[in-house]
Symmetry: C2
Subunit: 500 residues, 2 copies
């Protein structure tokens, strides 16, 4: 992975034929063959798809260099360390520094801190960095950012601080930011960009190109021109790639995409991300209640949202809230506490089930030894089903139409795995204790608990989803409660009936 | 969410002023105000960001309609049901139908089956559908697809079937597909598109536009022109939005992006997806060993890869392999079996720990009742840490630079949560059994196990990562083994020492 910045010198300029050879539109590439080592990408590449590639990882030497520069207040060394980094990488570096070092670095950079870094930082670090910046530098930085990045910067600040930052903006820009802040976080209104290019559908390619050339304030990056009617309602999207390939007299609406998904401004970012991925969209217009165009969401923003939502699902499924790597011990302890309390309550519930059978256990201690196996296998099987169900709900693949079939399938899978593991665990028991009756009891309990695991693993997230809750949230705890209770109850209960 | 297809009539055509009002490049949008209900988007929109929005979900009535049409062999009804759907939605529909109905639908559609549907299907369903299609129809469909979609279609077929499909292609196209198939799955070589637009950096905007207009075979959708030198090595990316806004005599290299990440053809798709999201790239050139341009990856492809990788992480963390919703009971049972076997082994290990203390348990049955609480709390705390660590490794935020700090932090969080829950569980014990000594034992065991949980939760994924394995894979089982063993051993061991 190498950067080829704008300073890289093209070396084909003196060869007029190179143009014809190289300008391949719709080319079929040549056969790849190993050749001489290439100068642009000196690192040897791994060929294992599943091996993590450290080339994308921030070089630890950069972190060390930045830390040392901060300690010695060596501005030149700091600049040298940061110079080769993209703003997103500097943001990663800031996230890796400890709090005091980060503050020192921010103060050392002063007005030279690239504003783009601010919009790449994760929430807590961003707030720390904003607090460490001189107000004048912050104001200058904010003026350089696009409105959507400013919104991200200030959304978590209290009203006072927010007001001070917004004062630095031009009135037009400030109004745009304030309007965006009116939409709830994690909605299309917060994701959309307010600088977009729109045109009437009857414009020609020539008119469009002339208009864009005359405009000094074009957005730097966009993929489609939004075609709008007289009421500013989006009626189509014309991709730049088609406009550029068409003659000057073609109308834009002849070039428009087959599909345009219109996003309503309050639509959750999760749904927007899903839509972009489902339909491979490059951009989508965002409209207000009356259908008028307010902004445009780009695929880049949707990809970020998709990543955020995946992060949230994985963490919620594991009982972790909105936690980040930069949180301090106290914050993390607080964030994880509620889930552990819920788990304590359910663990006590499972213990109560066990205590109903304490006389049985006293007579046959082997029951105490073996009972965690039944509970643990159930918990594991349920977690498997749960992961599949949560993902299927997130990707809209588990619907009213196939729900019955999928629930039945999970029960059957639970039954068949239950039968297999009943046999295995019975063998283990016979080898260990040599008690055929007890082997029968644990085998029966295993079958019961594995079926319960399959059903709980799919029905609980479905129920949470129907109730309007996030199916990933708390599912894990509910599901393992079911398998613990059913596991202990069926094993100890059957043992009491059969063995005493 | 509404589709505005190309058949939608723009209604501004007769108003010449509309053009001036509507063509807003870099516009600040107007204040959003609720107005009259809008005609384009009739459904009322939910305003809760976390509520799942069913608008993106496939309408169950469509599934019912398609199923009925298949049963009655009513082709007109089938067409009516499918007509409003995007190819991606038809693919979702196919995935929801049961196997026989799906085959019937595929046969009824015959040569009218939109080839795009094939490239949207998930693996198993795709293979079923390919098997159900007449060879002649399949051949015709394949000829309509881009090379990268054909690759996706045939990659899992056996060599015979693959050969038959590829025979249908034009020789040039077939060679492209065969070349792509030489790269391992889940690498950049499989993700890239081989039809791209490249030009020498000294070309002007005018030359570029004229060249594109003259080319009948432009890719339908792309975001950047790849600037290449005489040796076909990428030296920059010129975004279409900048080319379109620039005068005809500007050179392309004056318009190029600050950042171009060059992807090597064997780079894992996980890393490619990470890079696109980190740097908000619209496209990136893919090169061979000698640095020559082979293809281009678009953000759309990277987003799909990001989604696949998130899916994999979540499922692996829950002990589910490469499983999909359309798998049959036997397949699922087989896929989940290995994880359950590992879990059985570790559960037996935990039971062996318990059996060391069976004499103690016989004397104090309360130990059997309470011991699952210690194990369960440890397992839960470890799962929380694990989720955070796995995500941090996936996003390259847990690195050599901050590893020591983060491991220490997890140990401290484990200690502080351990102290809190030691107190809580001691209170529970006193209320329940009124035994102060036993309360002290369970409290001490809780602290020990929570610290072990924090350490295991972060150290095990780090160790797997260092060993070149996926940290999500198998972490869960290892981690809960640690907390089960430590939990039972510390609780029962301390009880034996203190209480007997």
């Amino acid at each position: 992975m190498t950067d080829a910045g704008p300073d890289r010198k093209p070396d084909a300029e003196d060869d007029p034929h190179a143009a014809d050879r190289a300008a391949v539109a719709g080319a079929d590439a040549e056969t790849p063959e190993p050749e001489t080592p290439k100068p642009e990408t000196p690192e040897p590449e791994t060929s294992e798809p599943e091996t993590r590639d450290d080339e994308w990882e921030l070089d630890p030497n950069v972190v060390t260099a930045a830390t040392e520069a901060a300690e010695t207040q060596d501005r030149a060394a700091l600049d040298a360390a940061l110079a080769p980094l993209h703003a997103a990488d500097v943001a990663d570096l800031f996230e890796q520094l400890d709090h005091d070092t980060r503050d020192t670095v921010v103060r050392m950079l002063g007005s030279d801190l690239d504003p783009e870094i601010l919009s790449e930082l994760e929430d807590d670090v961003r707030d720390d960095v904003l607090a460490a910046m001189e107000p004048a530098h912050l104001a200058a930085a904010v003026r350089e950012l696009d409105a959507d990045d400013v919104v991200y910067l200030v959304e978590d600040l209290d009203e006072d601080q927010q007001g001070r930052v917004l004062e630095a903006l031009e009135p037009v820009e400030r109004i745009a930011v304030e309007q965006s802040l009116q939409y709830p976080e994690y909605t299309a209104g917060r994701m959309m960009r307010r600088d977009f290019v729109a045109a009437p559908p009857f414009w020609t390619v020539g008119q469009m190109i002339d208009h864009m050339r005359a405009d000094d304030d074009l957005p730097d990056q966009f993929h489609d021109v939004v075609l709008v009617d007289a009421a500013m309602k989006p009626v189509g999207l014309a991709p730049l790639s088609r406009i550029m390939g068409a003659g000057r007299d073609r109308r834009l609406d002849e070039l428009q995409r087959d599909l345009m998904e219109i996003i309503e401004v309050l639509e959750p970012q999760e749904d927007v991300a899903y839509g972009f991925n489902q339909y491979h969209m490059a951009s989508a217009p965002v409209v207000d209640d009356s259908g008028r165009l307010l902004g445009v969401i780009h695929m880049e923003d949707a990809m970020e949202a998709l990543d955020e939502e995946a992060d949230e699902d994985l963490k919620r499924l594991s009982g972790v809230g909105d936690e980040s790597l930069s949180d301090k011990v106290l914050e993390i302890t607080k964030l994880r506490f509620p889930w552990l309390v819920v788990n304590l309550a359910t663990a006590v519930l499972a213990s109560m089930v066990i205590s109903q059978f304490d006389a049985t256990i006293q007579q046959i201690v082997a029951l105490a030894v073996l009972m965690p196996i039944v509970a643990s296998m159930g918990g594991n099987a349920a977690t498997q089903t749960l992961a599949v169900a949560v993902r299927a709900l997130a990707t809209r693949d588990l619907t009213a139409s196939n729900m019955r079939r999928l629930v039945t399938r999970e029960a059957v899978v639970g039954l068949s795995n239950g039968l297999i593991f009943a046999l295995l665990v019975a063998v283990v028991e016979v080898v260990w204790y040599g008690d055929a009756l007890l082997a029968g009891v644990i085998a029966a309990a295993m079958v019961i608990n594995m079926v319960a695991a399959g059903l709980a693993g799919i029905l609980i997230p479905i129920a949470l989803d129907k109730a309007g809750a996030d199916p990933a949230l708390a599912s894990g705890t509910f599901v393992t409660t079911v398998t613990d209770v059913v596991g202990f109850f069926s094993f100890l209960g059957l043992a009491g009936l059969v063995l005493l």
